[in-house]
């Protein structure tokens, strides 16, 4: 996306939102498997995921956005030092719920900022009334 109308901020916010959504997905799976023997808790490193999203998905000038490469594999991380319970499960429910809440709050904040920017854009198009 280029030009004055759709500034890179919108694009960046959208990508960050997508990663937060994927992270929510992964954390939800951890909570779902809180009682599954030998399940290892996983997470998404937000910073490196965002970097990858920008490195591989930026469309070069003159290229149409439809030619974008498929989204890169999500870098999932496992904490090798996480204490395992007797059944080999490493999910810490309090930790996971805290991460889920923090990630959700970040998502809501970004969604709100994105919404404000869209509102700004609309006001610029329509003019103030």
């Amino acid at each position: 996306m280029g030009g004055m109308l759709f500034d890179p901020t919108l694009d960046g916010l959208a990508r960050a939102l997508t990663i937060h959504q994927r992270r929510h997905d992964v954390l939800a799976a951890n909570v779902a498997n809180v009682e599954t023997p030998h399940y290892h808790a996983r997470d998404v490193d937000f910073a490196s995921a965002l970097k990858r999203a920008f490195d591989t998905q930026t469309t070069a000038p003159g290229e149409t956005p439809g030619d974008e490469a498929p989204p890169p594999a999500l870098p999932l991380t496992e904490d090798p030092d996480a204490p395992a319970r007797a059944d080999g499960n490493t999910v810490d429910i309090d930790f996971e719920m805290a991460k889920l809440t923090a990630n959700g709050t970040d998502y809501l904040a970004l969604a709100r900022i994105l919404g404000r920017r869209v509102t700004l854009l609309r006001q610029a198009i329509e003019g103030t009334r």
Partner: protein
């Protein structure tokens, strides 16, 4: 966005935990059952949980993200019988007493079952919270620019 698959993962956990609750209820209800169709006293049952790669309507898209990135739900793959021996209680007057006067009661420990019941309830509640959080995120996404 994979709101649906996130909800499906949480829903699979709710289903699994509910099945665990069913099993615990059955164990507690039959804590003193000395006769079963298979013969002998009731045997304590236990569910086996297994992580399960999830197929969603977005499975094709997800496949491009690599198999590892797919969220894993929970499935109850088996309900096993606890192999521990029955509790022998001396009750010579009981119709199911053996030659020595001992009755084989189920290997159900009520205290253990109630602890398990609480753990299952908390796990269920945690997943309900996740569903609520997922819903909030979806609502925020839908109201962008509204």
């Amino acid at each position: 966005m994979e709101i649906n698959s996130t909800l499906a993962v949480s829903a699979s956990a709710l289903r699994a935990e509910r099945m665990r609750l069913d099993t615990i209820a059955s164990n507690l209800a039959n804590a003193n059952t000395t006769r079963t169709p298979e013969g002998g006293p009731y045997k304590r049952r236990e569910v086996v949980f297994e992580a399960e790669k999830f197929d969603s309507p977005f499975a094709d898209t997800l496949a491009t993200l690599g198999d590892e990135a797919r969220p894993e739900g929970v499935a109850v793959t088996d309900v096993i019988e606890d192999p521990t021996p029955p509790r022998m209680v001396y009750e010579p007057g009981h119709p199911d007493a053996n030659a020595e006067g001992y009755v084989a009661y189920p290997n159900v420990n009520s205290m253990l079952e109630v602890v398990d019941l609480m753990a299952a309830t908390r796990a269920y509640e945690a997943n309900v919270q996740v569903i609520a959080a997922t819903k909030r995120l979806a609502e925020a996404a839908l109201s962008i620019g509204a």
